[in-house]
Subunit: 95 residues, 2 copies
Amino acid sequence: MVSMNWELVGSVAALLTMFGFVPQIFKIYRTESVGDVSFTMLFQFTIGIFLWLLYGIHIQDRILIVANVISFTTLIVVMGLYLKYRKNKLGEAIL
Amino acid sequence: MVSMNWELVGSVAALLTMFGFVPQIFKIYRTESVGDVSFTMLFQFTIGIFLWLLYGIHIQDRILIVANVISFTTLIVVMGLYLKYRKNKLGEAIL
């Protein structure tokens, strides 16, 4: 009875995960605070996504390449914001 | 001149990303604080990973299934910790 559009399921899955760090970018931009965010998590994802990108280039899979270029870019932004605001936590606690 | 073991590259990429949220779990467990973590990010990844899992089951790809079961499980743990500790930020600021 239930018919699934599997191409749509895969596409939505890809979109949600490749832009997964965007809400974190907005949150950091708004609060200017990153004290609770794990930098190890960000760094681990960045290396992992970069290796996925290399692998995607190797097997010449366009979807893998595009998805990981987007993820990699958002992760670079998150890490940049992290490094910019990492000293803000104490200030926020005092204020 | 440079010879890459592409299976190793893909495997390391998969391991780093499927366990990508584990450092965040450790950080929240240690600090009991989640105020700077974006719940929207966690929720978006959880839905995305769940759809990847459904897609993996559909195309019967064992690697996609295993990777996304692991990611999904770690995300459920992060979200559980988030909901447990989300009220701790003010307390931490006062202390």
